[in-house]
Symmetry: C2
């Protein structure tokens, strides 16, 4: 979930100077309305990487808004009073009232991670407490809270840069920044834990919003914009029936123009002359790995997604070309049939989960829920928002049972897609592959790209990572896919 | 949660003969409507004590209804096919389609308990899987499922009787009954596990319905009635906004007339002459126990609930009479103030959780949510239904931190309450204690009694059990309360 906050988001000084006063005024107005209507409250949890600027963000918010109705609480080591009572007591004490805004720095998340790192919690204990956290947060949402959870992130190089700056300061100034350098230096150890924590506690009620912390302008504008958007939703919410989740969205991409998908280098290619040798090499490695005895304790799930004409079919054929036909199944996924619609959307995929020793290749997948169904309005917002979490749970169960899950998003440029559509129309035996629907989907290019970015943010994890494949050159894409599968298999079988 | 299914519920043969055909016809009609509207589906999980009649119940349902659209799946040992895939796979495969009814015998619950008993799961593992189960069930509910979870229960003597009958049968007939006698004989070991499992997985979306299994007529009518009620709700449900939980209620008490509260023997008394010696004895035991050094690792939470004039105040004074004033706090709970209403309902109680070594006595409690707020319509059905689970979570956290939680319900008869009201009106210094509101509450006696029964069902657990106190005689009540506290403290400090 962290990759898209490692691409170097930034907002220029000029742009910030123009946008900050507007945001500030809107925030103040919204805060007044929230207070008058006694709605909410809004609880913001701000945590993340050491040195990412968590307290700076909180300070900025209190500077922007009316400080009487926004309270920041920093949770550090527990006091004697707190130690004598259940762990949750101090969080209950600090809850904001309706109409107010609370900012919790670190809160229960840092406390849990610290305990895990210091060996006071087993891996299973941590999982259990993460689940308890979900229940607590759900209760808050059911009680009317809008819960915003920000993870302020830094890439490893960005953190290194921060620490170097930091080391050059005088001791007094260092104290001001309050960076725990010891914890900062544990980046590599902590990262898988962060991933697990974000995955396990990102729910439809209270999803994590991962914000890159390197550029102050970007960070402040993003947090402020999400807060404003949420306050507006809370103020205009007139609950009917059971009260239900004013869910904040994934981070708005309006704040700057840098995105994970756009940061892909689509010019990468493999020369035609080198391709046959390259592909043969990786195919034979794949063939070997799926035949070793140890593979019988595992299974392989390959998930392919991509825009129309991105080359999924061709890539899949290069994979199956290396496999024993008795060992794998290819599952082409179309719109659900009437019979399939009588079951939960994950049902038809669950049924095709491979047995140990087996391989299932999905040509389009369960991610249809958060791609086509979201963009085309085939399900409600509530439905696709909860799907991220449900999909994470699904994949986690499969991985826990021994499966290796590789998920590929094949990215092509809009112009390359156009060229391929045109070429298909001209080639008689490929004409069936291009329909009016393909052209229609194309008109929603930007909406699909946004859905893909959110999907990768919410469902890429160490357990079941997404691989973004630069597919402008088919040869490059096919080799990258085979290499990735070989690498993941090698790691798992080692 | 099991006590109220151990009181000997039964329905006479004549009554059953009258009611069964009507229920059967209504079930068939509802099944047809459900199928036509393609609503639901309804998934019933039937599990419980060995020999309680789980499969008999399932068979009765298929006998009553159209067998083409109700499918019973019994989950036993996993097949080879199932062993090769993630544990959840076989449950996904067996899910009923919209419009249908599925009956899962035992399902994931028995599988988890078995693994725990055979030592394949640690206590923490079990807790974790119970939490995962909640997520899975919530997903099903979000997908439109109505989930009915029946625990068919037998008291220990009732089970013993069953087993004796069973032993007298021929071997062939025994095979027919399919009682796992080995598991049946582990009753005592398993009971705390059952309690934990029911507590952890009884949610607003899918609460457990505990049904006494001893009397076939009672059992079948109860399960059938709950199913009918749920199908009617599903058929008439027109989801607006995010789809949300057709929640089945606690077991309907209409089926027979025996209830836990009515089974209390209110004639129990302590002669006035014996009372001073008795009360002094238990007060001094309590005083000793709260002064021992080991108590400093614990705390004591005493929760008092009861009808007006049931004698809560007097009982509390007999408890505090034994305590050091520096050690305890008494918290009288009235309707929340305007300031308190700005916070979640549990907030004001969380703040008063005692520190280790301390004692807090709540005169009326957080249970107001499921008593007065439910009966007087001060919160929505959704709100009080989720409260059972939230309260269980709250008490669990407090107990996990070392607290001993004793909850007392003081039961008086309606006529005794009338006598006390009248007496209060006549006594000048007690007149302030009786108001028009007290008389009004009295008019809702039956609704309150139902709310109390549901409360005890849903929130009494080994961790924080309810003690039902026969309070018709004040002396008896006070001594029983003191004895209970002393017993709980002795157990905890041992």
């Amino acid at each position: 979930m962290l990759e898209s906050a490692e691409v170097g988001h930034s907002v220029s000084k000029a742009s910030y100077a123009r946008r900050e006063p507007r945001l500030r005024e809107a925030l103040l107005n919204a805060q007044f309305d929230l207070m008058q209507a006694r709605k909410g409250p809004v609880l913001m949890i701000i945590t993340g990487v050491e040195g990412g600027g968590r307290s700076e963000t909180a300070n900025k918010l209190t500077e922007w808004m009316d400080p009487r109705h926004i309270h920041v609480t920093a949770f550090g080591t527990r006091s004697c009073e707190e130690l004598a009572r259940p762990p949750a007591w101090r969080y209950w004490r600090a809850l904001p009232p309706k109409g107010g805004i609370g900012v919790f720095l670190n809160a229960w998340y840092t406390e849990m991670l610290d305990a895990r790192v210091r060996g006071k919690l087993s891996a299973r204990d941590l999982e259990f407490y993460l689940q308890e956290t979900r229940l607590f947060e759900r209760m808050l949402v059911d009680e009317g809270f809008a819960l915003l959870k920000f993870w302020i992130h830094l890439s490893k190089p960005a953190l290194r840069e921060r620490l170097e700056e930091f080391d050059q300061h005088t001791r007094a100034r260092r104290a001001l920044f309050k960076i725990d350098t010891k914890r900062a230096r544990m980046y590599q150890t902590l990262r898988p834990l962060w991933e697990e924590m974000l995955r396990e506690t990102s729910t439809a009620d209270a999803p994590w919003i991962v914000v890159e912390g390197q550029d102050d302008h970007y960070r402040n504008l993003t947090v402020g914009t999400v807060l404003l958007d949420t306050m507006k939703r809370v103020i205009s919410d007139t609950p009917t029936g059971p009260r239900r989740t004013i869910s904040p969205g994934p981070a708005p991409s309006i704040v700057d123009n840098v995105k994970l998908l756009r940061s892909l280098d689509l010019t990468q290619r493999i020369p035609e002359a080198d391709y046959p040798k390259e592909i043969a090499k990786w195919q034979s490695r794949l063939a070997e790995l799926t035949q070793v005895k140890r593979f019988r304790d595992h299974s392989l799930v390959l998930a392919f997604e991509g825009a129309d004409a991105a080359g999924k079919g061709g890539a899949i054929r290069r994979v199956t070309g290396a496999l024993d036909a008795r060992q794998y199944v290819t599952v082409p996924t179309a719109a659900p049939t009437d019979a399939e619609k009588l079951f939960p959307y994950l049902w038809r995929f669950w049924l095709r989960v491979p047995p140990r020793g087996g391989i299932t290749i999905f040509d389009r997948t369960w991610y249809g829920r958060v791609l086509v169904e979201r963009v085309e309005g085939l399900c409600s917002e509530f439905d696709w928002r909860r799907a991220y979490d449900e999909i994470n749970q699904f994949e986690e169960q499969v991985v826990e049972d021994g499966a290796i899950v590789c998920k590929f998003w094949l990215q092509v440029s809009k112009s390359e897609q156009y060229r391929r559509f045109k070429a298909r129309e001209k080639t008689p035996f490929k004409r069936f592959k291009i329909t009016a629907e393909d052209w229609r989907n194309r008109s929603k290019w930007d909406a699909y790209q946004q859905a893909v970015a959110d999907m990768v943010d919410q469902t890429s994890s160490e357990l079941a990572p997404w691989t973004l494949v630069e597919a402008e050159d088919k040869y490059f894409a096919r080799v990258k896919i085979l290499k990735t599968i070989v690498r993941r298999l090698t790691e798992a079988l080692d």
